[in-house]
Amino acid sequence: MTSPLTTGADARTRKGPGGVALSLALLPALAVVLILFGGGFALGIVQALGYLPGAGLGEWSLAHFARVLSDPDFLHSFLLTLYIAGASTVIAAGISIPAALGLASLSKRSRVIHFIFQMPLTVPHLVIAIAVMFMLAPAGLLSRAATGAGWIASPADFPLLINDAWGIGIILTYVWKEIPFITLMLLAVLRHTGRDLLDVGRTLKADAWQRFRYITLPIIFPALGAASLIVFAYTFGAFEVPFLLGQTYPMTLPVWAYKHYSDIDLMARPEGIATGIVIALVVMAAVILAQVLTKAARKRGLIA
């Protein structure tokens, strides 16, 4: 497996300079990941399994997980989170494909468009969520514009776009933020291999749609898949945006997890952690599922 972020890079790999030197080079990185990340994750699991801080080892049990999973609201929250993450990913990916093609066909001199396009990358989720709130709230900019145009008479007539059941504000925020991320990943690949192969395709009688379907899509597929997975994982596990723009009920899983975790009732804390673990497991399962599906599709010749 090559890393998701280096697909398309043509590795000039050679045989190692000896295990010791390589280990030394990797050691600090692995130490940080294993101790801080691995440790945090493992400690989370331990706590979710009933280890009580201060009271030493309590009963090992799945009780906290059971309580989380059997909560009637869990399914609601789970489905809502899945819907928001899925919709955001699909919409962002769907827009990113034409956007990447558009940017690729721009000459490199159109640097202004490139620059503007990259701006959302640097904007924290929190800020764009606040801006979206200012725009889409019942008395927000959009609502004012609609009143000005005479379409509605008062904020009450304006459709609910934030804190709504469909998570529209949340999804819009994610889409705005993630399009450049996916697009630039695709663009890197397109720049690397794009033009010449399309010319070959043209002289080999492929029309515009066929060139897209049989050349461009296979070229960008690995990057698109990797970028989408990262976006899905992020949107499934992020807290700020649904906390600001979501409904109070049902909550998304991360909001739910943090609510339990920060509850005054300390007994709720392991449940919050257990929810966090569930989120992590879902995300990992999604990644594995994607790998399996890709492999199966490759085997059947559906993709390269």
Binding site: V32, I45, L121, M185
Partner: protein
């Protein structure tokens, strides 16, 4: 692309990106702005004055916390990521796949989950509510990202230059400093920028580990959102994006056409 369609494409991109900022700017300068006016009825600097004087100390402290945390995180991440990225990008070795998976996990698993797990342990170690603790939890995801950037950089880096320099009489240290470093400097900048921005915009893990002590900008901003003062929240939001913008300008100027692919 034809000129007309380029205009069209450009204006869609411009409007989509610009509109949210416009609304923030309008709100931050709005003194009075009642429904259903499309423009504020009265403009003013109240919000800006508030965050520079009344709440000036709070805001400055938050900026300070944020800068220290993000800068130190980025510096540590890059220092650790350069050798790791070089090893991964230049060499094939047993267990490389495993390393790759290990580094992918922190990118996939939400920081929320790790932060909750680390919290109690950090309390024991006295790392809770300290810079060290917050930087530690930020490193868990900033470092893998930095490594992936440098992995890509080193995958396209031709080590023959180093051999050439060695054969011309340069020592190992000189080769590293005078040959490798200049060649990968754009990559290092991207990795650092990347780690900085990730840390800069982090909210929940900072809140959990940093508690009420390491109040970075996002923590302050969340608190302000709770108070419901829109102009002030808008002004702080703009302060919050400013360094990111400067970083983007820097990258556009100094990194040429090398885009920020992969930054999030």
């Amino acid at each position: 692309m034809k000129k007309s369609s380029r205009r069209f494409f450009g204006s869609i991109v411009g409007a989509t990106v610009g509109l949210p900022f416009l609304s923030l700017v309008l709100w931050s300068f709005a003194e009075r702005w009642f429904y259903p006016a499309l423009w504020p009825q009265a403009w003013g600097l109240r919000a800006w004055r508030y965050i520079t004087s009344t709440a000036g100390f709070q805001v400055m402290t938050a900026i300070g916390h944020s800068v220290v945390v993000a800068a130190v995180t980025a510096a540590i991440a890059v220092v650790i990521a350069v050798p790791a990225g070089r090893a991964l990008g230049q060499y094939d070795f047993k267990g490389k796949d495993l390393v790759s998976v290990l580094l992918t996990l922190p990118i996939i698993v939400p920081p929320l989950c790790v932060a909750m797990g680390l919290h109690l342990w950090f309390i024991r170690l006295g790392l809770a509510e300290t810079y060290a603790g917050v930087i530690g939890v930020h490193l868990t995801f900033c470092l893998p990202y930095a490594i992936f950037v440098l992995w890509g950089v080193f995958a396209n880096y031709n080590p023959d230059f180093e051999d050439q320099a060695r054969s011309l009489g340069a020592s190992r240290a000189v080769v590293m400093a005078r040959v490798m470093l200049p060649m990968i400097l754009p990559g290092i900048s991207v990795a650092a920028l990347f780690a900085f921005l990730l840390s800069w915009s982090q909210y929940l893990s900072t809140l959990i580990i940093g508690g009420g002590r390491v109040t970075t900008l996002p923590v302050l901003l969340f608190a302000l959102m709770g108070s419901g003062d829109r102009p002030v929240a808008a002004a702080v939001s703009l302060v919050f994006v400013a360094p990111a913008f400067i970083a983007l300008l820097f990258s556009a100027r100094h990194l040429g056409n090398r885009s920020l692919a992969g930054v999030r």
